[in-house]
């Protein structure tokens, strides 16, 4: 390592024991003659200590229990239970419900009645509300 060059990024690695023996020798030799880098090592070490001393953080109560709750299994079980219940209900009803007599529907009569009731003529709401409001974006 060039003795005159500041080690820069190597200083953290030096503190962390992440340099090769040769690199360590180079950094130490530089630190002996460079007060600026000695100060930098001290500052970096302070920052490192601050982060390393941060305490563990407790997760919110019940966080993992909520995450581990088998929602999908519950959902599938719920749907299955509902489906089984519905099938059973239909089966029971088909056995106990009284039989209705067969009714023949006159389709033409139904269509005629529906068409008359769906007309908007005479409908107060349809008559007072315009189908569209004219708007202009020109200023």
């Amino acid at each position: 390592m060039n003795m005159s060059a500041h080690p820069g990024d190597l200083l953290s690695a030096y503190l962390d024991g992440e340099l090769t023996p040769r690199e360590v020798d180079g950094v130490r030799a530089h630190l002996e003659v460079c007060v600026e880098c000695r100060r930098e090592v001290q500052f970096i070490g302070e920052a490192r200590t601050l982060v390393r001393d941060l305490p563990p953080v407790d997760p919110p109560f019940g966080l993992f229990e909520r995450m581990l709750r088998p929602k999908h299994r519950w959902a599938r079980a719920g749907v299955g239970a509902l489906a089984a219940g519905a099938v059973a209900s239909v089966a029971v009803m088909s056995l106990v419900a009284p039989r209705e007599p067969h009714v023949s529907t006159h389709v033409a009569q139904l269509v005629s009645a529906h068409t008359a009731s769906a007309s908007t003529s005479g409908d107060p709401i349809s008559e007072i509300t315009p189908a569209a409001v004219p708007v202009s974006f020109n200023r």
Binding site: S12, A13, E18, F43, E46, A47, L54, P56, V57, M67
Partner: protein, 168 residues
């Protein structure tokens, strides 16, 4: 199919939940995002237990958490203003007894806030090094970068923290 000896995700949550949440909180900087990150990690653990190699469970979880965190950051690009130039102009302040006293009284929330203001890649490297305790080699493998880049990110991240917490 999980590898032999691989833990279930329920075991991971119960045995390493606090550690995992701590790492997630240090990376994200807030509880809501930390919970989302923990959930994402557990999902990845459940899907990827076959990749587990017996060793440091916490190191393995940390790598998953960090990658999930960085994936999310890159996807959202939610705080582009945090991205600083590669060679930030940080100037080291002179040391003093007052600074040392201040450091001794520093509150975890203050440190966490300063940590949260680091560029995401720098914060990930610092957390993996100083919170998790991974080696530079392991951090490089986790982040997919050379060891030289790890050195740089850790050093610059610490320098920024020091400057933010103990101004001249």
């Amino acid at each position: 199919m999980a590898g032999e000896g691989a833990p279930t995700w329920e075991e991971v949550a119960r045995s390493h939940g606090r550690f995992l949440y701590t790492v997630a909180y240090r990376l994200t900087g807030n509880r809501e995002d930390a919970e989302d990150l923990v959930q994402e990690v557990l999902l990845r653990v459940r899907r990827g237990l076959e990749t587990y190699q017996p060793g440091s469970m916490e190191g393995w979880l940390s790598r998953i958490a960090t990658n999930a965190f960085l994936d999310d950051v890159r996807r959202k690009k939610r705080r582009p203003e945090d991205l600083l130039p590669e060679d930030p102009d940080w100037v080291l302040p002179p040391s003093s007894a007052a600074d040392e006293a201040l450091a001794a009284e520093m509150l975890p929330d203050d440190i966490q806030a300063a940590l949260a203001r680091l560029p995401d890649d720098f914060r990930a490297a610092v957390v993996l090094c100083d919170v998790v305790g991974l080696s530079y080699q392991e951090i490089g493998e986790s982040l997919g970068v050379p060891v030289g880049t790890v050195r740089s990110r850790i050093h610059r991240g610490r320098a920024m923290l020091r400057k933010a917490l103990l101004p001249a």
